[in-house]
Symmetry: C2
Subunit: 306 residues, 2 copies
């Protein structure tokens, strides 16, 4: 297990948990690669590790996107795919992966100038889609999702070399204190939490439902939360959250009657394409982590819904 | 099972779920029995079924109460009692019952003029303690508590005749969107949701950990929430929530590192003391529902912490 000793972001080795300072920039090329965000917004993202932009998509656009996600969630041809993930102990579809390829509308959304230029600006390069999915946390029985850094998983299980990717969550329902909103720990992106435990093969099949490996220790979480607090991304449908690949996040359950839906897209820099997974792990399937074709996304000239 | 056909609040019979209009007042004797609340506050409670009062207890008082609750939660002599309830799948103490008798300080809190006069005013009579408990929803692994009306349980399992009781929750930690705050459905106290399913004996042992009977159906819940919305009782430590015995409430889990602690007291009117449970059920133990001695609580002249 000592193959990784030169890896600044080693995790799940035989050593204990550790907090390691980030080695990579948060904003690349000083945020000059595109001009979607104002400099204060870039600075805010760099400091906190996330940026909430409200009222990006109109009510009409949200309705169109939500209808598409709902349609997909009940489409028998989609439900039967490996891309469709159900809630633990339930038949309700929780997530559908690779939506930017399964849906023409969501494929266009991925290239919408309001999203992709933010990604290009912050990552300082052309970008491709590492992973996309639609999430539907059902009402009444939506389960929690425990704290994690996406980068920890992407680095170990997918072989993503550096912290040069970001996630973007387009809220398709209002997110309030009541329906289990995304929670982020401001500033946590500056620390890498190396996790304990060895990863079994085909871990991804379970981890998409419930994380058991790559789980940060409570002492580190406590420290991060005491330093930065926790911010719940409450906002109206049509808002967009961008967050760095290493920002610690999670969400509580949802017993409210209201489902929580969003489209989630991970842009990775074309200069940060995947290498083999760590520790000889078998690569996760293509719909979880793009590996076969790193194709830069071509920005649309106008809104995806136009 | 037809013994209850004359009971306006029949529930858990062989009939289907139903929404039944409340027969009882919300505020008794026009709120003139005491004068702790202003008339607008009484009107607000009557309309919504709850009232959040902020900054009732000082930081110093909160620290004293919290220290007492923490002490009790680790006191071996208390942990071994039937009064102490642990989290499902964990040793962490989630609730301690009968705290107004187990702790001198909390016994005085029950008679604090800032609490008891509100109860006396709204219920229009002298009051006694139907149930008291300290709740500690631990950080990281605090479980959700699904929607329920307390009165449904108290009526069926404890034989409480009418809706003339209220709960009071003294927040001992800040409650935010992030740590699973109490959620209430405004206006829901005006409807009684009759639940499906028969209650087994000694149900209470499990129901305190996870409710399986007396669970409202999702259609009724949806209706109540569409009508009234859902309000999360977020507020600083030292705030107090008063809510009617029939107000629908619940809480999501808590993955934040911060525990959520409160002291919870149920005041029942001396004119509403318990009868035998419904359907020949065995009465729940004294620490869950006071039955042996209905002793009116004597208001203190000054703050419990004085």
């Amino acid at each position: 297990m000592n193959v990784s000793m030169n890896d600044p972001y080693a995790s799940r080795t035989d050593r204990t948990s550790a907090i390691i300072a980030r080695r990579d920039p948060v904003v690349y090329k000083d945020g000059t690669y595109a001009d979607a965000l104002a400099s204060e917004q870039v600075a805010s993202y760099e400091r906190d590790g996330f940026l909430l932009l409200e009222n990006i998509f109109s009510d009409e656009e949200v309705q169109g996107l939500l209808a598409e996600v709902k349609r997909m969630g009940t489409d028998p041809d989609i439900i039967k795919l490996e891309e469709a993930i159900t809630e633990p102990g339930s038949d309700a579809v929780r997530s559908i992966f690779r939506v930017h390829e399964l849906s023409q509308l969501l494929g266009r959304l991925a290239c919408d100038p309001r999203l992709i230029h933010v990604a290009r600006q912050l990552l300082g390069s052309e970008v491709y889609m590492h992973q996309s999915r639609a999430n539907m946390k059902p009402g009444f029985k939506g389960k929690e999702f425990y704290w994690h850094s996406d980068f920890e998983t992407w680095h170990i299980e997918d072989g993503m070399p550096a912290m040069r990717a970001l996630s973007c969550s387009v809220l398709l329902t209002d997110n309030s204190a009541c329906n289990g909103p995304l929670m982020l720990v401001p500033g946590s992106h500056q620390q890498f939490i190396s996790c304990q435990g060895i990863t079994p093969d085909n871990h991804y099949k379970k981890s998409l439902k419930k994380q058991e490996y790559g789980v940060p220790d409570t002492l580190s979480l406590q420290l991060l939360a005491e330093q930065g607090g926790i911010q719940a991304m409450t906002g109206k449908a049509g808002s967009v959250v961008f967050f760095d690949c290493n920002t610690m996040h999670g969400s509580n359950g949802n017993i409210s009657p209201w489902p929580r839906a969003n489209v989630f897209m991970v842009y990775n820099s074309m200069e940060n394409t995947l290498e083999p997974p760590k520790y000889g792990l078998v690569p996760r399937p293509e719909h979880i982590a793009t590996r076969k074709r790193f194709t830069p996304l071509l920005p649309l000239e106008e809104a995806a819904t136009a």
